[in-house]
Amino acid sequence: MTLYIFYFLSFLAVLSAFMVVYSKNPVHSVLYLIVTFFSIAGHYILLNAQFLAAVHIIVYAGAIMVLFLYVIMMFNLNKEAEPHKDAYIKLAATIAGGIFMIVLIGSLKGVEHIENLNTPNQSAGLIKNLGNVLYRDYMLPFEMASILFLSAMVGAVFLGKNELK
């Protein structure tokens, strides 16, 4: 059962990721990207990492993609407004993409030697264990990251001040 769900989600993720690149309309691309994020969140749930799944949906699907969509709708990017790309750029993109694919295949080549792909601790993704790890083992980097975010938020609020000189 889990295996079939995994195959289905993987297929969905890859297909929609492909459609992100393939679709001509940027709004459709964003919508496909959202589908990709949802199928990845499904993978997290399969790994029993509910917290990560929820946060993934809140942050990526709920916030970042909304901003993407906002910007695309705001600038009204569509097929007609797309700038013309000349053949050299297309050729360069194809070569670069091909090379990237070779790199990916090369990195996956040794995958059969990695043993024990399953996480030994099935409850590692649960919120309690995650909290313990974050606040005990990785206290300093976590706090530094949160201070970084806090300063970003303060910066955003400060930018909103209209009496900024």
């Binding site: 929820a54 949906i57 699907a61 906002y70 938020m153 609020v157």
Partner: protein, 342 residues
Amino acid sequence: MVSGYLIYKAIIVVIVFLVGLGIAAYSTYAERKVAAFLQDRLGPNKAGPYGLLQPIADGVKMFMKEEIIPDVSNKFLFILGPSIAMLTACMTGAVIPWSTPLVINGVSYPLQITDINIGILYVFGVVSIGVYGIMIGGWASNNKFSLLGALRASAQMISYEIAMGLSIIALVMLTGTISLQEIAAQQSGWHWNVFYQPLGFIIFITCAFAECNRTPFDLPECETELVGGYHTEYSSMKLGFYLFAEYINMFISAAIISTLYFGGYNMPLIGRFVTDPNILSILGLVFFFGKIFFFIFFFMWIRWTVPRFRYDQLMHLGWRIFIPLSILNIVLTGLGILVFNK
């Protein structure tokens, strides 16, 4: 046993779904009645006694209306918009603890669809994708007013989600859990969270208004500026879905507010008079729905009292007042926990 469990879950899902729909339907009637009463009018009173059949008449009207899909819009996305709005509105009810478990023949039947340990985050995630219904619908309408409504909805959602999340963080610091069942159970007696988190409550309820697109934050559909906002081009039951989703959201918001801040199914002093757990459970359900109805009424009361914000005022309020305030609230809560060692 497993099939019995599944049947029980299926029954409770269906009940929650139907109750949600029923309450949303009658919220439309209540909204019109409350609006009328607050404005010294009588409100709908022709369909059935006191107009009680009005929601059915409205529903029939919505179904019978001609369905118009604009020629130039994307048909699939145009239909997807209201579907997402309705889906996300109905999904949130899954984690709300309606009452304490019923015990029949020694088997405990929890009155909650599922008690996942990320309860609040689940609600939050579903709410945050709810805006796609509005955005996709507004964009697919291929209408400038709809697009503006969709843009406003997205910017508003993003802005108020931050303050809402931060106000919940303070609450979670206090409760030490994000499972709604545990949060509700902790607030027995007078230990309602609203007494410990008054500032957080005000921030949360204001953000809930903004997330539900209710007045005074109904800028995505403000009819004075944008014709109909994101649903300008919608007709028939697709429009009905949008309107209906708003009322379901209101019901769920009222349930979440009462669970998080007003003790959920708990009622002070009730334990002194009743000891039987099953009766307590039923009474808890009654109290919980009483609180929910009060908050639905409060939503309407606010709607017909406070005028709509201007868009820059909305953004000002969200970013420059609520976010700093909620960070302050987190700091104060941390200090309180440190000092009183609660």
